[in-house]
């Protein structure tokens, strides 16, 4: 989508008007590469995923290298993020869900790092492409469903039958439950993608207004832009949090089947 759109006008609109807000989402091939006839080029999206993975790994390894009883500043940040996710898993899934903690922690830190890297000027927001978020969400969905079936066997299908409902209503309600279960990966991925894309588009459009207003007229709007950037950083954190907490809630549904 962004590629086709960017090809129409490039960084600046076709008539040389305001900058094209969609240009920032353009995927660029950095190293051309083809694997068995499939285009597997190393793109700017892949580059930022590699950077995110490296940043997280370096941060955690570097911060925890001393393992002091009285933590240094770096170590306490690492411990804070560990405790944050560990509490999230413990509160929402329970202690028997702690064996899935490494997965939730990785997911949270990866999405958070991608969102935060996207807030740097001239960088690329990987999570603003639905294929990336959908791949993450589909992995969560398939994994959670498989866990449910492995743990409960065929009884997991009872998850779709609400209890305490008249038998007459059941055929309708089961269909609704199945549909709502199947829309989970969709809503999980679209929430993250739409938030990131809408936020970055809004920043770009408003930023162009500030530039168009000039030095004198643009001072107050520039202050608003700073506030908006702060809001976007909040959203970047919040969406990573929501992604992780919904993963926990889905895990809890699969493990304990409360209904």
């Amino acid at each position: 989508m962004s590629e086709a759109y960017a090809a129409e006008g490039g960084a600046h609109g076709a008539e040389g008007g305001l900058p094209n807000p969609m240009h920032q989402f353009e995927i660029k091939r950095l190293i051309d590469f083809e694997l068995f006839g499939v285009d597997a080029s190393f793109t700017n999206s892949a580059l930022f995923m590699v950077i995110a993975a490296c940043v997280i790994t370096l941060f955690t390894v570097y911060a925890m290298r001393r393992r002091a009883l009285v933590p240094s500043r770096m170590q306490s940040v690492a411990e804070l993020s560990y405790e944050f996710v560990a509490n999230m898993v413990r509160d929402n899934v329970g202690t028997d869900g702690m064996k899935y903690f490494p997965f939730v922690f990785t997911l949270f830190m990866f999405v958070l790092a991608l969102n935060m890297l996207g807030m740097l000027p001239y960088s690329f927001t990987v999570t603003s492409h639905i294929i990336v978020t959908f791949a993450l969400a589909a992995f969560v969905f398939l994994g959670v469903t498989l866990i449910g079936f492995f743990k409960h066997g065929v009884k997991f299908l009872k998850f779709f039958v609400p209890s305490g409902v008249p038998v007459v209503m059941l055929p309708l309600l089961v269909v609704i439950e199945v549909i709502s279960y199947l829309t989970r990966p969709l809503s999980l991925s679209v929430r993250l993608f739409a938030n990131m894309m809408a936020g970055h588009t809004m920043l770009k459009v408003f930023g162009a207004f500030v530039v168009a207003l000039g030095v004198l007229g643009g001072i107050a709007p520039l202050a608003f832009m700073v506030a908006f950037t702060g809001l976007e950083i909040l959203v970047a954190f919040l969406q990573a949090y929501v992604f992780a907490i919904l993963t926990c809630i889905y895990l809890n549904d699969a493990l304990h089947m409360h209904h």
Partner: protein, 75 residues
Amino acid sequence: MDPSAAKLIGAGLASIALVGAGIGIGTIFGNYLQGALRNPSAAPGQFANLLLGFALAEATGLFGLVVALIILFVF
């Protein structure tokens, strides 16, 4: 009517979904504040639920945005 004009009108109509998101977010934060002022000691425990409700309400509005984008750029 010119098909491209209809497309733009459709995209604009799709963004009406934001009305619902606005009402939802307002309700969530308003009710949270109301509850938090009545019982401030219980408020921090519900902060996670507040953020969750906010994100869920916001997502429904953003689905409308996605529909608008699909209308604009896919068809």
